[in-house]
Amino acid sequence: MNPMTNPREHNLACIPSRREWLQRAALGFGSVALTDILARRAMADARQTAALNPLAPKPPNFAPKAKRVIYIFLDGGVSHLDSFDYKPRLKKDHGKPLPDSIRPPKFTFAPQGRILQSPWSFKQYGQTGKWCSNLFPHINEHVDELCFIHSLHHKQNDHVTAKTMINTGHGTEPRPPLGSWLVYGLGSASENLPAYIDIMPDGAKSRSTAFLPNHYGGTPVGKAQKTARFRTIENLERTWAKTENTQRQHLDLVQLMNKEHQSRTGGNTSPANAKLEAEIKNLELAFRMQAEAPDVISLQGESEATQDLYGIGEPNTTDFGRACLMARRFAERGVRYITVTHSTQKYGNLWDQHSRLEEGHTGNARAVDKPIAGLLKDLKSRGMLDDTLVIFGSEFGRTPTFEFMDGGLGRLTNGRDHNPYGFTMWFAGGGVKPGFSYGSTDDYGYYASENKVSVYDLHATILQLMGLDHWALTYRHSGRDFRLTDEFGHVVDDVIHA
């Protein structure tokens, strides 16, 4: 038996000699494998693991339809009226004021002008004959896979609060985001990777875990508006340690100290030492993550055909294509909740076209359309779409009117204002009905009217698909059992595939 197994067995008499250190240095990877085995063995001890590891997998409330979520978030507010929510009245009434039956809310982000028709042309797509504009031509090819909800609504009229709302269920107070609740509820399904990955997140408040401990938080990979080159997990890459072996030796020294410390403070069987034991395990997890995650991020081993599917290599789509492909790679490796944020100033301010709607939305859509369609196709061909819930949406939609009211002062070049009162999201895979549309907005697409779906309903439904009962998922804080869905929310059963 290799003499170096002993130090981890809490026996100080077995501190390696100088010869052994040198030997270990020569052995290199041998010790990595060993640590691995030790760590796994400990993890197998379910009782202890439950106490030590808050991310241990937890049973769902009922059989889940989806095992993981890929949430494609388009930062700013995609116009539902120019994409998937077809409103022929806009063309007909272009340039007229809104009818009296539709009153703009008391305080809008910007003054409202007259009705603006969509600059895009609509036609029917797929077997289901879904009316879509030609804004997202590649996604349109998949309409028969998609489940649209057209009647989403909330009240937060500006980006910060709306983003917080759509991610956390509360607009103005810090609450944990959907992904953190999922990880809190289900634990992690990956041993070597975080359970919740945020690819290129913006720095929004809505990412803070609020009252949930921060191990339920998202691990950011890169940052909004940074290109693929900067896409990595903080502190993941070796910095000072020149080789993996160097780092391993260093960690062995740390673990040696930890074991010594542990033995002085009551041995590793003591429950009071649970915290210390968890730290020791985390160090090993970090080491394994360092070995595995860069590989996921680098997109190593993906065939040219797959890369083409995502538009990697084409100037417009390469960046977001890489992000989407990375999402699939994380999904494959058991990451529970992955967000991919599209947030760029390249075509105007994000997806927030208060002006130059056509220019901005066209540029943005071109960058994401093919990658998203590619992701759907790829997931499907790998048999992953069935248990992966893909979500497409932004914090709100846009108004059917010009930005400016002005008794006719609005100009054709202007864009649309924020509209949280009625907007569209779509879902694919993960147990939703394919080729299905649910709910609707009024004739002008301003307010959700039929089968309205609140953000609470949305969250309740996503939790349901993941096997969690949104009423049962609570966290006690400050005297209150907090829920993602507050005191509201109904599962939208109609969108769930029987």
């Binding site: 103005t172 921060n214 160097t246 030492n273 210390l276 400016f404 009211m405």
Partner: protein
Amino acid sequence: MEHVRSRIFAGLVATLCVAAIAWPLSPAIADPGDDSYNWKTWRQFWSFKPVQRPAVPQVKNKTWVRNPIDAFILAELEKQDVTPAAPAEKRTWLRRVTFLLTGLPPTPAEIEAFLDDEQDDAHATVVDRLLKSPHYGERMGRHWLDVVRYEQNRVRLKHQPTFRGELHYRDYVVRAFNNDKPYDRFIMEQIAGDLLEVLGDTDKDEVARQRYFDQIIAPAFLSIGDWFDECTDPNKLRMDIVDDMIDTTGKVFMGLSLGCARCHDHPFDPIPTEDYYALGGIFKNTKIIGEFSEFWRDGRDRMTRELATKSQVRANLEKDKIIDQAIKSIVVLCEKIARQSDNMHRNADMDQFVKDIPVPESVTIEAENFAGVDNLKISEVEFVNPRIAGKDAKEKATVIETQTPLSQWVRYTFRLPKTGRYEIHVLYSALGPTPIEVQAGRNPATVALAKPIEGTGGWGLRYRAWQSIGIYHMSAGPNALRLTARLNPKTKTARFPQIDKIRLVHITDEWEAKVSRPRFGRFPTAAFRHYSIHRDSPFRFAMGIDSAVYRWFLNQNTGAHDIIRKAQAEKRDYQAILSVSDQPAKAIADIPVHIRGDIYRTRKEPTPRGVLRLFDHVLIKPEMPDDESGRLQLAIWLSHPDNPLTARVMVNRIWQWHFGDGLVATPNDFGSRGAKPTHSALLDWLATEFIKSGWSVKHIQKLICGSNAYRMGSSQKREALESGSALRFPLSAFPRQRLSVEAIYDAMLCSIGKVKRQTDNPLDFNKSADRMMYVLTSNRSPKGMGVEIKKMFGVFDYQPTGMSMPKRDQTSTAAQSLWFMNNPLPRYYAEQLATRVLQLKNITAGERLTQAYTLTLGRPPSDAMANATLDYIDAAMKQGASREEAWTSVCLAIYSSNEFRYIE
């Protein structure tokens, strides 16, 4: 009853520094009718009952009892047949008490001194020393700052990006703990410091001045909240701010979540909605932001004031007056020149000509009466017009001007009586040319023009002038006018002229025929000339002063210039602090209940301002004054010794700051959903002791740190563990705790000798500036490490959310391990530490290692560990690492070890 109440309050207001006030228990006041709570039952709830001093229990093992705290704890343990853990080693205890009281590790010298001290009171000596250390206030202050939702850099003022006024509050808190400020006074100052009487001569007496400064700094407690200032609906924002104050006050001082009652009667605690809005009235009448109008993003900055005594503020105002006077004398001269130049452009002939032709009809719009606006704000401006003598000399105007230097526009809607051509005149001032786009008419998109607006030489009424911005065809009926300033593509900013009035002059053909004379003098158009010099004109000609002329006079008139220079030099700059004040007496009003929290659905009758009725059985309801918000009365009610929650909540926090968990595990929730106390008698005993000591925090801490319970080791005996009872039963051993992020950072800092230990109060903030608590605002972070320090906060569980944070999480995550492995920050300190031990002369490698251990862990390494480490160094160097690199990686290993960041 009425009489007694008002007398008590009149008395209190006059002598507010009194710690314990004789406030008689009142007989239960009749319940105020229509609410659904069973008050009798609620008032029997453990935390709502008056605090009574319990007897110290008898225990079997009397030798274990060092002070009454031990008796309470041991009594519970004996009931469970659990033996308390064996005492911790001296070294362990010293590390524990030093970290917990100062956030710093003990120095090698302190360790040696304590180990050598074999007196019985060695422990007590250490506690006394630490309680006197000015670093004590930093540690306790940091706890308190968490509780009151303080976050560095959260308080941003749009127009003063460098504002750091909230730091004064931070330093106030540190000072308060160091001075052991009585907790009742501490409450009073934070809630109503600005309303407290100013005692003593603040100009001559340093103590009085500091007390006054504390009073005006402390209420920042109310202002540092995190509300969303860009909320589209200003009315909602106002109530969000009120909610922040209510919720924070409730959680911090009473351990109650009052926020629920914003929308409905509190479902779990006896807080009716009326009580929420009674408190809401108090805070609605408290002013923390400037005037703000209904318009989007207007005036939502937190208010500030100067950190100066009243007479210092007055002195500065005097200087301002002198400066104004001097400027005025120059302006008079300028005006004279300006008039002469006016006259050069007019002559009797023209005057006569204009006089004979009537002024054309016009419509005038005040600039502030717009229909829509973006990035502009309304301002009141004043000007002493030297052309007008006497007391009317002061001219006032309401103008619109740039609020945010981004693309700006303003839109007016108006009706015109007739169809025809209209010439648009604008009365404005602008320093330089400010091009604006003009759109006018019923369908003005077709007539959009970019129009240069000339500079008038400066901003303000003094430079106000009329300008014509073109002639537009408009039809009778509703019309619109829109003025837009676009972003300058180069500077990425936009500027709007400061506009006072707009007039639309109807130009008819007949009128034009009459005035068609080729020469308009200096006036661009006939209509403009007419309005400028016509005697019957409804507008007086307002001519700007050329700023070049003004500057010339300033230089010529050395007398005035000297006066201005001197006054300016004598004016003193004071630091800005956050300002909290009451609304003006006239504006004080109650607010009604908002039905389901909806600001647009309120009850008809306002709810009288007041406090929670929950304690009507123990405390007299304070009477709310008509001319003040009532914060003072609230503060008195809160800090009253008979308030059942105040002392309990605070001693529980203090306990938690020592043992990691409070006796009540939910420090911000003493309501029905919160945890029950594990040792309720001990909690009440401490609460009474707290009040008896004059609300002395240090007194309670001295008791805690002096107890045997605090000396227990953190490992229980195996038998106790196996029976399971120890696990279930708290306080049978000292709970192991991970250091807070600040302590981890500061411990690294200490190991390289960067924290100058201070022994005397008051704390010298400069000497502490490297510590994590200050480093981001003191600009003392090591080069390039600022970003990493910022990120480190989040990695180790400091993630402020803008809400009261009663307890930090102590998570252990792989992200933390990665941080130690690869982040440049710990590596940086490891390098420094390696350099430090390598610089030591004439010692062996083993001795160097002992040094590294002592500076970090406060102990030498074991022989086995020392050998292993030295072997590691040799091995690393054999593989090509330099000596420095090898030692750096050893130092990094020590930082990464559990022992470094856990206290036993």
